[in-house]
Amino acid sequence: MATEILMPALSPTMEEGTLAKWLVKEGDTVASGDIMAEIETDKATMEFEAVDEGTIGKILVAEGTEGVKVNTPIALLLEEGESADDIDTAASASAPAPADKAQSSETAPAAAKAHPTPAADVTPDWPEGTKMKQQTVREALRDGMAEEMRRDDSVFLMGEEVAEYQGAYKISQGMLDEFGPKRVIDTPITEHGFAGIGVGAAFGGLRPIVEFMTWNFAMQAIDQILNSAAKTLYMSGGQMGAPMVFRGPNGAAARVGAQHSQDYAAWYMQVPGLKVVMPYSASDAKGLMKTAIRDPNPVVFLENEILYGRTFDVPDMDDFTVPFGKARIWREGTDVTIVSFGIGMTYALEAAEKLAEDGISAEVLDLRTIRPMDTAAIIRSVQKTNRCVTVEEGWPQGSVGNYISSVIMQEAFDYLDAPVINCTGKDVPMPYAANLEKHALVTTAEVIEAVKQVTYR
């Protein structure tokens, strides 16, 4: 039976076009790839090639015809052994229905998938009575990495100055000596390139830890973090992914100006496929680093230069890990919930201490992981305190706090006795001058003020 040649769609949006010119006539033989016609779309004139071989039996749409709908038969092609006599029956056969748009089911998937609110996990991070030791965040991060590298040969560290220089911020101190240059690798200054090589190595079966000297420099590599690392599992239908950690100091240090002081928590938090960790204490830095390295997904691990030197209690136990998606309650309280993470916790805890002197009891929650976020813990706390203040150093528009506020509105609106206030860094690039910089960051005084506002004191 003769084959119908259909009016083609030549762009993702074309619905109809003009059959500008026939380059073949009835009786001509054509082979695959021969140009048969010129078709005008709203954008341009395109050539239309034959796919099958045969003889043009009949031209159904004359050249110059405008408004020819996509998938309308425009000609009939005869195969070997067919004659033009066969045409009438073929022509009466109706054109195949165009790709049925309605086939894409009308049932809309649940819009923004609601955050399930499971019961908050409030189990302690380590058994009662565990011996503690004092460690800086810097040492805790290194121990976390080193323990995982001892445990798994496929884990390696790469980045600028991580090996011979012992780390720009001395996080990898001693690691070259222990693991050698095969596993602790100095890279050239080439973030885009080595981030991509790291992702490729993860595809290839390794567990890379890619250090950025600061997250500001990772802007050069953000395409690899998002488009290659975060999306591949989905795009491959689950066949392959990027089990790896991107880490380095994030946010403001001290007096390093606008290009070295940005907090990226809110940026990376938005990306499905990534997990985003931002520890405050040394025990969390260690426990979350070990979890991050073991996680089969790409993890963005946001450290902070000012916290590197701070000392905390770290449980002295084998294989201490902290799960993702579990907030930590640093201080229990009844009047207000202060939610923070990373260095924001400094202001949150300081404010809570001072507020206690004024008789205001603040509950302080450290999110620890921004994605997955323990919204259950936030809701649980707000249901008790009925008020919430969020604290972070990042910019106000599209902040982590904004997101937390929306979750509280949707899931605990009736529990709120006051609007949620987001304490953030100011809406300015980071200035260099000491007085301006101090003012550009969130301050403890602002947190206290916000708490007084929501508690109507």
Binding site: L6, P8, A9, L10, S11, P12, S32, G33, K43, A44, T45, M46, E49, V51, V70, N71, P98, A99, Q103, S104, S105, T107, P109, K113, F156, K182, T187, P188, T190, H192, G193, G196, I197, G198, V199, G200, A201, F203, G204, G205, L206, D223, Q224, N227, S228, L233, Y234, M235, S236, G237, G238, Q239, M240, G241, P243, P272, G273, K275, P296, N297
Partner: protein, 353 residues
Amino acid sequence: MLNYLPGAAGVMTEDRLMATKKSAKTPNVSADELKSYYRDMLLIRRFEEKAGQLYGMGLIGGFCHLYIGQEAVVVGLEATAKEGDSRITTYRDHGHMLACGMDPNGVMAELTGREDGYSKGKGGSMHMFSKEKRFYGGHGIVGANVPLGAGIAFADKYKGNDNVTFTYFGDGAANQGQVYETFNMAALWDLPVIFVIENNQYAMGTSQQRSTSSAEIWERGKAFGIPGEAVDGMDVLAVKAAGEKAVAHCRSGEGPYILEIKTYRYRGHSMSDPAKYRTREEVQKMRDERDPIEQVRKLLLTGDHATEDDLKSIDKEIKKIVNDSAEFAKNSPEPALEELWTDIYATEVPQEA
């Protein structure tokens, strides 16, 4: 041990294509081998023609970049690969997938966005993968696959095997900064990666001479100490010969190698490209005089390796495979709505599972 061909100056024309390295006049190649190249190239061509047709019918959406004209590149190089080698490319990827043995049904069903596609319909034309065939995509960001390919090679070197990674990209991608960041590290660390520049002369609608300061892109490797050569990409035997050299170099631990394969795409950049940046005569001349499939066809017939009937039966076999893939791709159901929410986070590393 560098092996540089003298680079001729001048603009990129067909003459330049002809001037690139040719295969030996009397190729030492068996009839079966020739027939298999003929068959593999024809499969890609017919598959792509069919994909173009399905696109025209609205069964394939979005962007669809056809490989017609470039078939000898992947078929020639796949002939040099061994089990364990990897490949990665950009968005013009259908040919690479067929050449490395991925199932035409699964590829076509991905093009139509169906459940039986390689990515369950969630990747589309530009984003397809095969763990089994070590095909690492299918990448839509021009140039981004180049460090990824070097990273896969890094993993092989780290594990201490002798696998190589074929990292394909175009003359357009060759102007991305990350390509040179990768050249630097690949050379520095002796990574077993073959950089395959598929130079089809046009970065979308911009000819090489309008976009690229170097007449010979592979010579840019010299700055990093990476050897390479230009290859006639319309001649599958020339591609294979150059590929063998590159593979031997990489496998022996000597580091990366660059193959700039001068090829030509007959169709537009994508389906919606009217191709006004070149003349119809230019395309037609290439098809008439340099077509990679026609060249092998002639070799087969003039060398008495095959009869017209033999080739006809191959044509018929290919036609059936391609038609079957189209039917399969039309009949495979759309992915279940639940698939929207799967494969965002892994619970175990899938490539290890």
